[in-house]
């Protein structure tokens, strides 16, 4: 694997390999000495054009536990306003002799563009409203673990239904999950008010629905998306109250869920808005498992990109 830019870059076999390796990596997490020598001498730069403490620290720990040298560079703010082009910034960092660039950018497509300018491996850590492939991988990994509790031999998600609920239009998590989960065979159903369903969703490998209560009883996994503050004032829906009543995972909806179904949320949560405290802390909530899976999945991805013989 040269780059990881989109969840669409991965076929079912590759995803399964990443998951299986992540299982092994997760064993490191339980050890007193959390260090593997796999990437010793390799340099990984986290080039973040947008703040993200969670994702950055998750990549940083993943790289360090694999013994890579990890450097964080914050390039926050518009490069346009600073007078330096994206290309110049990327070339400058790459010229230092970097093996992999982990790029987070507030604009869609930036990691994709960067991959054309440099020789280093590029890993998309979230680009604008486009994709966030490692988030989808850790979600998928968490879901597989959950499903394997009742079906230990499960290999794919055929026959399973995943509902993704919330602001689909502006969600990179949703886009990557749609691609990854459908590659694994899941039936993905997107649920949102019409103002938050993206144009052209009819051509996606999903069902789209505006009624959460219709979808909820059939979903094996319910993934709630964060509602961004700026959408609330952007007129995408009238009030937070109306949103919660229509699309929040409230206590009554918790009870309407299919037995054995689980709850995901990529965080950070707006408790009381898209997800009630009851749902967030429920026994079938996988939210903390998702966070824990982040490091091992990113270790696995970094190893896939950099660990091979080169």
């Amino acid at each position: 694997m040269r780059h990881l830019l989109s969840a669409a870059d991965l076929d079912r076999t590759q995803i399964t390999e990443i998951f299986d390796l992540a299982e092994e990596m997760s064993l490191v997490q339980g050890r007193p000495v959390k260090k593997l020598p796999a990437l010793r001498g390799r340099t990984v730069v986290n080039l973040f054009f947008e703040d993200s403490t969670r994702t950055r620290s998750s990549f940083e720990i993943a790289g360090k536990w694999l013994s890579a040298d990890v450097i964080n560079i914050s390039a926050k703010g518009s490069s346009v306003s600073k007078g330096e082009s994206l290309r110049d910034t990327v070339l400058t960092v790459a010229a230092m002799g970097v093996d992999a660039l982990v790029i987070r950018h507030h604009a869609s497509g930036a990691p994709w563009q960067a991959s054309h300018w440099i020789d280093a491996h590029v890993l998309n850590a979230g680009d604008g409203t486009h994709e966030h492939p490692t988030q989808a991988l850790l979600d998928g990994f968490t879901i597989r673990r959950h499903l394997r509790r009742s079906a230990p031999d499960l290999v794919d998600f055929e026959g399973k239904t995943v509902a993704i609920v919330g602001d689909i239009t502006h969600s990179r998590v949703a886009r990557s999950n749609v691609l990854l989960l459908s590659t694994l065979g899941a039936q993905v159903t997107l649920v949102a008010p019409p103002t938050l369903l993206p144009p052209g969703v009819d051509s996606w490998p999903v069902l789209a629905c505006t009624d959460l209560d219709e979808v909820l009883p059939h979903a094996d996994i319910v993934m709630m998306l964060r509602v961004q503050r700026e959408r609330m004032s952007g007129g995408y829906f009238p009030t937070p109250r109306e949103y919660t009543i229509g699309y929040g995972l409230t206590r009554p909806r918790l009870e309407a869920m299919k037995s054995g179904a689980a709850i995901c949320h990529p965080g950070p949560m707006n408790r009381g808005l898209e997800i009630s405290a009851d749902a967030a802390d429920a026994a079938n909530s996988l939210i903390l498992d998702q966070v824990a899976a982040g490091v091992s999945v990113r270790m696995s991805v970094l190893y896939e990109l950099l660990g091979g013989a080169e």
């Binding site: 994206l86 290309r87 497509g109 930036a110 563009q113 886009r175 051509s203």
Partner: protein
Amino acid sequence: MTDLLIRGADIVGRGRSDLLIRDGRFVDPADAGADGEELDADGLVALPGLVDLHTHLREPGREDAETIESGTLAAARGGFTAVLAMANTTPVTDTAEAAEHVAALGARDGHAQVVPVGAVSKGLHGVELAELGLMARSRARVRVFSDDGHCVSDARLMRRALEYVRAFDGVIAQHAQDQQLAGAAACCHEGEISGKLGLPGWPTAAEASVVARDIQIAELTRSRLHVCHVSCAETVDVIRWAKQRDINVTAEVAPHHLMLTTNEVLNYDPTYKVNPPLRPNEHVDALREALADGTIDAVATDHAPHARHDKEHAFAEAAFGMLGLENALAVVIETMINSGLSWPELAKRMSIMPAHIARLADQGRSLTESQPANVVLVDPAARAVVNRDQSASLSRNNPWHGRELPDPVVATIWAGRVTYQKAR
């Protein structure tokens, strides 16, 4: 100046004849003296010099991206003998002095006639009228006014501008973009591809709704409205309706909208970021049809040079626009002549109508005795792969780079002077 005899050109596709140029005008070819120069035009079509209603020359202000000298050299290479220089320079062309400055630079450095477009509003801010009358009365004789790059959003300001310019037969050229439906961030046709790529969408309704409004105002004020860079089928429908009602509206289409589609954006290459955006194929088809039937009056390039570093940002942050002057005729031959448009019709869309809309007395004239000698000689069969590095423009944001297209322009003559001649 010595005589120039053009031998055997097919005059606008209507038949072969010689053309004799003396002192900047056509004269009777039978008068040719023995000591004049000759240009063999066997197999070539002679068209009136092309006129571009929509050029960004960047001077004054961004001489690193283009100058009047380099931009008009690109124009000459593309077969143009006149360009209308858009007002969004630094400073903005919103006073008589600024307009005269651009015209004077054009007279000094130009390889084609440079006609300044005046801003509709002061500073392009869309709030107060610029000094439209003084620009019209100036030595630059401004007749076309546009806030291009920005839409005149305020309906009342648009109404006043349309009314006001009637006094001197001016025209308001509108960049139609509803700011609420397609804000400054909008950079991709709203549809399947914008949804997939996560790029802010630019719906066609944001263009067509403004054009519909402006047409109503043009009817109310009995004034001349011109619609810049029509990009979609919905706008074509609205303009067609207006023309059936004899409302005084004209429209232009850019070469890129006649050939390129939203698919170009799939790899986030900012070369293909343009405003209005590239649209899906059904819109390209509708635009070609509208240009063929005259609903769209003119081809205008929207030539928009940008320094490399202004295009090498993330897609959403890169500058809007692409080059157009050098390849416009090639694209029109490829998309229109090769599917049935006649040479006289092409001359109408690329020379006669643009000159008429801009009220340029010396451009878009017939190639007959006593008329100004503005002519382009065209080889309809020649083809070449476009190489952006061979451009006369200072910029390299050429969307046709690497594509094989017609390579039609053999020579361009502006007011009797050869401004470009292809090496043979």
